[in-house]
């Protein structure tokens, strides 16, 4: 086994790479922010993509070297490989319902009237404000029951 003879890689190279990437990330964040960028405003996807890429590279460096997965056998890889797939599945299934859901709508329980003023939907139906109790209203509503 390789690690019996030591780490098998130079930790300082990795360390410097991590350090530099972190610095670049922060600089990137300040310089190219998609709406408050100091230097240049970037489209969101490019801004985020760059950051994510750097974060992933950092994560991979830690994963491959510090956690020495590079030198690990297939069995250990096998334990961890299903997780990225499952992460994708969780995200992919949640996106349509949580992130891109046209049916979402808030504030909830409030309605706009014609003038754009916000009216509490309950006001119009609130028992204390004129429509009577639920069952009263039901009876009034004229009843099939």
């Amino acid at each position: 086994m390789s690690h019996e003879k030591g780490l098998g890689y130079s930790i300082w190279n990795i360390f410097v790479a991590l350090f530099v990437l972190t610095a670049v990330e922060v600089a990137w964040g300040y310089a190219f922010h998609h709406n408050t960028g100091l230097l240049l405003k970037m489209p969101v996807w490019l801004f985020w993509g760059g950051l994510l890429l750097m974060a992933l590279v950092k994560g991979l460096l830690i994963f491959m070297y510090f956690m020495h997965m590079r030198f690990e056998r297939w069995i250990v890889w096998g334990l961890i490989l299903p997780t990225p797939l499952l992460v994708m599945i969780v995200l992919a299934a949640n996106m349509p319902d949580t992130s891109f859901n046209e049916q979402r709508d808030h504030p909830i329980g409030y309605l706009e009237d014609q003038t754009g003023e916000i009216v509490n939907a309950l006001d119009t139906l609130h028992p204390a404000k004129g429509r009577g109790t639920l069952h009263g209203a039901a009876a009034e509503g004229g009843g099939g029951h």
């Binding site: 049916q103 909830i108 209203a137 004229g142």
Partner: protein
């Protein structure tokens, strides 16, 4: 002795099982009548799956009972020494696979018609964008808000009613389902239509009632201690009656409402 009992028990499962389903219709322990346009489709799909499944059910259960009877007889020899059969394995993978794919694909059209945005009616008086009413669910009652004369929801001329939802017969009805507090579910057994009302969401729902009458509107999602009594009604009326009802509602609303 145990052999006989076990056989009888096992064979009773498919026999009584099928009998129960046949018998259920007689006792009215079966579907309530189907009074919406897609209700017969759903019933058809239900029955379609039922026949496919019943076939499998009978074959497997009878085989099970038969094997138990046949091979628990007292004998002094050894059992058949086999570790399986590749051919059989292929057969009983392939055939169910085809059957299951058939089942899956027959479902799609109906589901798309009921729930997909593209399945919604576009020609009638009511559409996804222009619903007949907004249905509000809250603990533990139903309220209905019609758009009033201007045809726009959320304006001051909206008309509101509670408990009873009146809709015209033979027309594609689209409504917006909303919840004020927790999750509820719109369920009218006769229409075979169920849709959860999700707080924070406005969910368009459509159906077309095919028969006039008054039907129970049931809340089908647990919403608290009063879930069991969160009853409403859907009254399906003719077009004229519907217009009359709207006029009546308008009169009532503006006579003792805020204006």
């Amino acid at each position: 002795m145990m052999r006989l009992i076990a056989f009888l028990l096992l064979i009773a499962v498919p026999i009584l099982g099928v009998y129960t389903f046949v018998n259920a219709q007689e006792h009215n322990w079966w579907f309530p009548p189907a009074y919406s346009t897609f209700a017969p489709d759903i019933d058809w799909l239900f029955n379609f799956i039922m026949y496919m499944v019943a076939f499998t059910f009978i074959v497997t259960e009878v085989a099970l009972a038969w094997f138990v009877w046949q091979y628990s007889a007292k004998r002094n020899d050894k059992g058949v020494f086999t570790h399986g059969s590749h051919k059989l394995e292929m057969i009983w993978t392939a055939i169910p696979a085809v059957a299951l794919l058939v089942i899956a694909f027959t479902q799609m059209e109906t589901f798309a018609k009921i729930k997909f945005a593209s399945g919604f009616p576009t020609d009638g008086p009511y559409t996804r964008e222009k619903p007949i009413a907004e249905v509000w669910a809250s603990q533990f009652d139903w309220r209905f808000r019609y758009p009033g004369d201007d045809g726009v929801l959320g304006t001051v001329d909206d008309l509101e009613s509670s408990f009873e939802f009146v809709v015209p017969v033979g027309v594609n009805v689209v409504f917006h389902l909303r919840a004020r507090d927790v999750i509820h579910s719109w369920f009218v057994p006769e229409f075979r239509l169920k849709q959860d009302a999700l707080p924070g969401h406005t969910i368009p729902v459509w159906f077309q009632a095919t028969k006039e009458g008054s039907y129970d509107l049931v809340c089908a999602e647990l919403c608290g201690w009063g879930h069991y009594k969160m009853a409403g009604r859907v009254r399906v009326v003719s077009a004229q009656e519907f217009d009359a009802y709207m006029a009546e509602l308008k009169a009532k609303w503006f006579s003792n409402g805020k204006e």
